[in-house]
């Protein structure tokens, strides 16, 4: 731990110097209004009827030293909500100090880390807990406290993560949509004695070899996914296992074709070891119909052989097909449409999103999610009355 301590000392010393100039601090972020419309009445008692309004606020502060070697980033996210008080939440997505040393960089604090290449599932990605309350943003993640040391050399980039302060999954309240039949208890069960105080460790290697980009990762810590066990017949309790996961992500970048592969192998205290993968391609037709816009066609196959004791997944044997249209205009207009089909039971879900900048700083986002058909045996069946259409306006500053 000595090098770690030393870099912490250097980092705090740099911060303590009175060199902080006003012009090196930047404030930015966005404020937004969101409206979701659920055409169907909820399946469970107490669920909000059809409209759900919210206000979101995401302020950000960045500071950097004169040399640029030290940076501080703070990014918070908050939502004020009309119906579901549990969805009303505030989270520190980022709050870290980052320092560049001669041969490596160090980061301490709360951060968000993205691993992977696939579009339909973030399989190898494991550092951050999914923010399940943000059902309109598949990329929403809870901030994770960590210490990271990274180096990027000729032989590749290597990052080591030491994490503490486990982030439990958050669940919608009784009034909320896209929830389980019963409330989920705030108290969780852990398979290990140190519970949520247990530290997590991760290591990731990345390198680019010509047309190939390769990532290898390993994680040892508390599972981000939980098994929800019924308690007392009217509620669920999350059960978190201690797990070890190794992952691989690989992308081949051709002229118009991207080939993608993610694979994991996971073992844990309370379930049988399993493997999962997502493999597919993205083919882009440039300048369709003589316009400046591009159409990307995406097809991915998901496979997951986890057993009944492991946390539920919807990706056992599923195909994803979708299209991404990018206008390449001055408003950065884009749209994405996708369908996930369960190849075993026929469950089909659809998702679409349209984005466009309306004016200086103002951007519009329209999206929908719908379950075309759901097999009663599929985990998505409980959400069969939660199709929604959402519109959001965000003002960036």
């Amino acid at each position: 731990m000595t090098p770690v301590l030393r870099c912490l000392m250097v980092m705090s010393a740099t911060l303590a110097t009175p060199a902080a100039q006003a012009d090196s601090i930047e404030f930015s972020g966005y404020v937004g209004a969101e409206l979701s419309y659920f055409p169907n009445t909820g399946l469970y008692p107490g669920q909000l009827a059809d409209l759900q309004y919210s206000l979101v606020l995401a302020p950000e502060i960045n500071w950097q030293s004169d040399s640029g070697d030290t940076q501080v980033n703070i990014l918070a996210f908050g939502r004020i909500e009309s119906a579901d008080t549990k969805r009303q939440h505030l989270d520190l997505r980022e709050g870290y100090i980052h320092h560049e040393f001669d041969d490596f960089t160090a980061l301490i604090g709360i951060n968000k880390v993205f691993w992977g290449v696939a579009e339909s599932r973030r399989l190898v990605d494991i550092i951050n807990q999914v923010d399940q309350l943000e059902y309109t943003d598949n990329d929403a993640r809870l901030g994770q406290p960590m210490l990271t040391i990274s180096t990027d050399q000729d032989w590749g980039a290597l990052s080591g993560f030491l994490m503490t302060g486990f982030r439990k999954l958050k669940f919608a309240g009784t009034e909320g949509r896209l929830r389980l039949p019963y409330p989920v208890l705030d108290t969780a069960v852990f398979s290990h004695r140190s519970r949520e105080k247990a530290k997590d460790y991760a290591l990731r290697y990345y390198n680019s070899f010509g047309d190939f980009d390769l990532g290898l990762s390993t994680f040892n810590g508390t599972s981000r996914e939980a098994v929800l066990k019924p308690v007392g017949g009217n509620s669920f309790q999350p059960n978190y296992s201690r797990i070890t996961q190794t992952g691989l992500d690989l992308q081949y970048t051709g002229d118009a074709t991207l080939l993608k592969l993610e694979a994991i192998s996971r073992s844990g205290d309370n379930f049988k070891h399993f493997e999962a993968m997502v493999a597919g391609l993205e083919y882009t037709i440039y300048q369709i119909a003589d316009t400046g816009s591009d159409l990307g066609l995406i097809a991915e196959y998901n496979y997951d052989n986890r057993g009944a004791n492991a946390p539920l997944t919807i990706f056992q044997k599923d195909a994803f097909v979708g299209g991404r249209w990018v206008a390449n205009d001055s408003e950065d207009t884009s749209a994405i449409l996708g369908m996930l089909i369960d190849l075993d039971d026929g469950t089909r879900s659809f998702q679409g999103e349209f984005k466009r900048r309306l004016g200086n700083g103002l951007s519009l986002n329209l999206q929908f999610r719908a379950l075309g058909y759901s097999n009663p045996a599929n985990a998505q069946h409980g959400f069969r009355r939660d199709d929604f259409f959402a519109v959001s306006l965000k003002h960036f500053f």
Binding site: S28, Q64, V113, V117, D213, Y286, N328, S330, N360, G361
Partner: protein, 271 residues
């Protein structure tokens, strides 16, 4: 993207340099014109060598046919690489519009084959390797194509000297260059080089059907530490009536940028 613009300039410098010693156009047969064009371009390729690294801020003003305009602001960073096989490394970081703030495009140029490119999307903190094969598509909604910005390495064209011509009050040499890379939207380009300053003043772009579709002009040249840089580039699209201006400011050289500042892992913490 900036390095490619710069290398474009480099090619153009050399073209102009050789043009000073050019024979009378009447005496030049086609073969000599090709040789002359090549030599001028080759000499130009090394004429701007030694800038090391540079940064500049740019404001991109997109104007439609009705005269309405939108603005993007970005910073360009370039790391010079002196090799026949690889071009420079560059990164463009967008600061406005505010909703794309922090979005960055990293490019490792290659002479043959596609450049290596990555994009950083700050909302998801995701780095994505992207294909650079889309040469003729619009760059961020502007009238600049990707190839106008990213395909300017010397080895990506063949050259031919055409004529001596007036450009404003100055004298220019006109060079034709033809893209040799795949998927170009152009059949040829005509480049006007100021014979005195050795800088390019104008490019006419011709589409695959041979029509003059776009014109690019440079303005506001100034010498920084021995290297000529401009403060404005204007692209006019004759087909759709739209135009894009790139206003440059704050040119800096020898800023201490290193190779590791041009790795995809550095995109998240660009400073």
């Amino acid at each position: 993207m900036l390095h490619q613009l710069q290398q474009n300039k480099r090619a153009l410098h050399a073209l102009a340099l050789s043009a000073v010693f050019a024979l009378s156009p009447l005496a030049v047969v086609a073969e000599d014109a090709i040789k002359k064009g090549y030599e001028i371009a080759k000499a130009s390729d090394i004429s701007d060598n030694g800038f090391g690294d540079s940064t500049a801020s740019a404001k991109m003003i997109l104007t439609n046919k009705a005269g309405q305009s939108t603005t993007r602001e970005m910073e360009f960073r370039t790391l010079e690489r002196t090799s026949d096989k690889v071009g420079d490394k560059s990164v463009s970081i967008f600061s406005t519009p505010a909703d794309i703030r922090g979005t960055a495009v990293l490019s490792h140029a290659k002479i043959t084959g596609n450049d290596k490119q990555w994009i950083y999307l700050p909302a998801a903190k995701r780095v994505k390797r992207i294909s650079s094969s889309n040469k003729s598509g619009p760059f961020v909604g502007s009238e600049f194509s990707y190839e106008d910005i990213t395909a300017q390495e010397f080895g990506k064209f063949t050259y031919k000297w055409i004529k001596t011509d007036a450009c404003g009050s100055a004298k220019c040499e006109v060079i034709e260059r033809i893209p040799t890379y795949k998927n170009s939207g152009y059949s040829r380009q005509l480049v006007w080089l100021n014979a005195k300053t050795k800088q390019s003043e104008r490019i006419h772009f011709f589409d695959r059907a041979g029509n003059h579709v776009k014109t690019l002009t440079w303005a506001g040249y100034k010498k920084y530490k021995g290297f000529w840089r401009w403060n404005k580039m204007s692209m006019i699209n004759h087909r759709n009536g739209k135009s894009t201006e790139l206003i440059f400011s704050d040119w800096k050289f020898g800023t201490g940028l290193r190779d590791r500042d041009f790795k995809s892992s550095a995109l998240e913490n660009l400073k």
